[in-house]
């Protein structure tokens, strides 16, 4: 009679131990799932909720409907941000992909010192946008930068004042952004081209196809998944772009180079418009989701098909 509770405890410990052993994998995975669940999904939902309230300096929790979204799309600054984002994304995509493909194809021709060249094309990816933005800001400044260089070389009427020109400042961000990311597209395409079997190219050459035809008609069409990946990743980088603008123009001159990410942080942390900033954050979130979800879906399907 005295031994029963003791045995019971032993049994309990035994059962618990077995349970632990059986569920160990899930327990080990719990931190990742818990942290992401809370800090990503929970936080996004919180931001979504706040975007429907009339929060100013501090979050308020009474619902207010779509007021913040109406305010957002009536704001001139937001419209300029969206406009800039579209211009930037279009140019950023085109230049990165064209330069990336050219470099990848050229590097694929059994080039001497390929390793060195590849290292040079890709090193900007290892640097922060603040570092490269600082460098570009100095290079592009009209008094002592490129403009002065050309004037000193004898082009006396040369002007290059894009950085301080309302109309042109957005293009300086494109220049710096393309410089930073084109190497990445090159790396993606080079890896893609290298994975094509030599036999395909040789067979085409025997059939009399020139190098141009081989690439234009055979290899590039085979790179469709790489195009897709590059598009998605570049669009996603451009929607998020923030550091580069801070380092290069701070959204100026005036508000001519402001972008959604900059709009959001300014509204949240400088202007005490918490509700409005949440609404702008949700617009960014939806834009990214619209690009990423189909991408992840197709990636996963391709993997399952393998």
């Amino acid at each position: 009679m005295i031994k029963w509770p003791f045995l019971n405890l032993k049994l309990k410990i035994f059962i618990m131990f077995k349970w632990l052993e059986k569920n160990l994998p899930k327990i080990v995975m719990a931190p990742a799932v818990g942290l992401i669940g809370w800090f990503v999904y929970g936080f996004v939902l919180w931001t979504l909720y706040i975007s429907f309230t009339n929060s100013k300096i501090l979050p308020k929790y009474e619902l207010w409907g779509f007021g913040q979204y109406e305010k957002l799309w009536a704001s001139r600054k937001w419209l300029i941000s969206v406009d800039n984002l579209l211009v930037f994304t279009a140019l950023f995509l085109i230049f990165c992909i064209v330069i990336g493909i050219i470099l990848a194809i050229f590097l694929d021709q059994k080039i001497r010192a390929e390793g060195v060249l590849r290292t040079i094309y890709l090193y900007p990816m290892a640097l922060s946008f603040i570092v490269t933005g600082t460098a570009w800001k100095w290079i592009l400044n009209p008094t002592l930068g490129i403009q002065k260089m050309f004037i000193d070389w004898g082009f006396e009427n040369f002007t290059f004042d894009w950085l301080v020109n309302r109309e042109m400042a957005i293009y300086t961000i494109v220049i710096a952004g393309v410089w930073q990311s084109a190497g990445f597209v090159m790396a993606l395409f080079l890896a893609g081209l290298r994975s094509v079997e030599d036999e395909i190219v040789k067979a085409a050459k025997i059939d009399g196809a020139g190098l141009f035809t081989v690439y234009w008609r055979i290899l590039l069409p085979m790179m469709r998944p790489v195009f897709f990946t590059s598009f998605v990743i570049l669009i996603h980088i451009s929607i998020k772009s923030y550091d580069l603008i801070v380092a290069l123009t701070q959204g100026g001159p005036g508000i001519s180079t402001t972008m959604p990410a900059l709009f959001m942080t300014q509204a949240a942390f400088h202007k005490s418009q918490v509700g409005l900033s949440a609404a702008s954050a949700m617009m960014m979130f939806m834009a990214v989701a619209a690009v990423i979800i189909p991408y992840l879906y197709s990636e996963l399907r391709r993997e399952n098909a393998r």
Partner: protein
């Protein structure tokens, strides 16, 4: 096998186009070198500008060679001018960044390795949904979590501290580290694990005895990736810290933007190089792994 394909007609073809090839190759190298100089140009300008005096900067051009190896502006960027107020320099912030990067890289890599291990070797119903759930975290625009994160850090009493930044970087690194390890472990034959299980090896024993010994390459990829991302981060650093707790990128930006007296471009450039040198060194030494991180799975943010 290859000789079969390289038939005589193919060789003839190669012979005929030899001269066009010569021209083509010159053109090829010309274009490649042109682009290389475009990519090198800013780095070159940074280095030479940092070695010039302000007098030289005003007189010469962007490209002109400095008169000598003058590291004065590097010393100012790193350690200041030695007077009190308003003398900002990078040294303390550099150490802030180190203190932030090391634990954040360690924890995010550890969590990613364990999660990737479970997702591939201890599969359960719905595991691919869990993976997708984590993977989406790679892509969220961080603006959508800034506001609640700022409040959470405040509530935990770790806002404007390095501990807070370590937490932020660990959490938002998990999707990437999990992706890397998951994609790596997926190609390890599951039979190995099954055999070990039959022999009575437990969860941790299998990880430490079978998977960890072959994980060196992916650990290098993950550590380099996380190091570069966290070192280069500006958004979290500038939002969740200011003043003395700021990481180096924030300090660099503040230094460059501070509009006290005359703009000293040479000090700005030296500061930018100091802030960029750690990741640049890692890239030059282990570029192969860095590129693998960039392109592996091609899912990145």
């Amino acid at each position: 096998m290859q000789d079969n394909l390289k038939s005589s007609s193919y060789q003839q073809l190669e012979q005929k186009s030899k001269y066009t090839n010569m021209f083509l190759r010159w053109f090829l190298y010309f274009v490649l070198i042109l682009f290389a100089s475009y990519f090198i140009f800013p780095l070159y300008v940074m280095v030479v500008t940092s070695l010039k005096t302000m007098e030289e900067i005003r007189q010469g051009t962007l490209l002109s060679w400095p008169s000598g190896l003058n590291f004065d502006s590097w010393a100012v960027a790193w350690g200041g001018r030695g007077y009190g107020a308003g003398d900002t320099f990078l040294r303390p912030y550099f150490w802030n960044s180190i203190k932030m990067v090391v634990p954040a890289v360690f924890f995010s890599t550890l969590i990613g390795a364990m999660t990737g291990y479970v997702l591939t070797k201890w599969r359960f119903k719905g595991d691919s949904w869990v993976f997708l759930f984590l993977l989406f975290g790679c892509f969220i625009p961080f603006q959508a979590i800034l506001l609640p994160m700022a409040r959470t850090l405040g509530a935990l009493g770790i806002s404007n501290s390095i501990v807070g930044l370590v937490l932020v970087h660990t959490v938002y690194g998990i999707p990437f580290t999990t992706l890397f390890f998951r994609n790596y472990y997926v190609s390890v034959p599951t039979e190995l694990v099954k055999a070990a299980r039959i022999d009575g090896a437990g969860f941790f024993k299998i990880f430490f005895k079978i998977l960890l010994p072959i994980s060196a390459p992916i650990i290098v990829v993950t550590v380099i990736w996380q190091f570069t991302q966290i070192w280069n981060d500006f958004l979290f650093g500038s939002t969740f810290s200011f003043g003395e707790a700021a990481p180096i990128q924030v300090a660099l930006n503040n230094m460059v933007l501070s509009s006290t007296s005359v703009k000293e471009y040479n000090v700005d450039m030296a500061s930018a190089i100091i802030a960029g040198v750690p990741t640049l060194i890692v890239y030059v030494l282990a570029g192969k792994y860095f590129i693998r991180g960039l392109t592996s799975g091609a899912v990145k943010g």
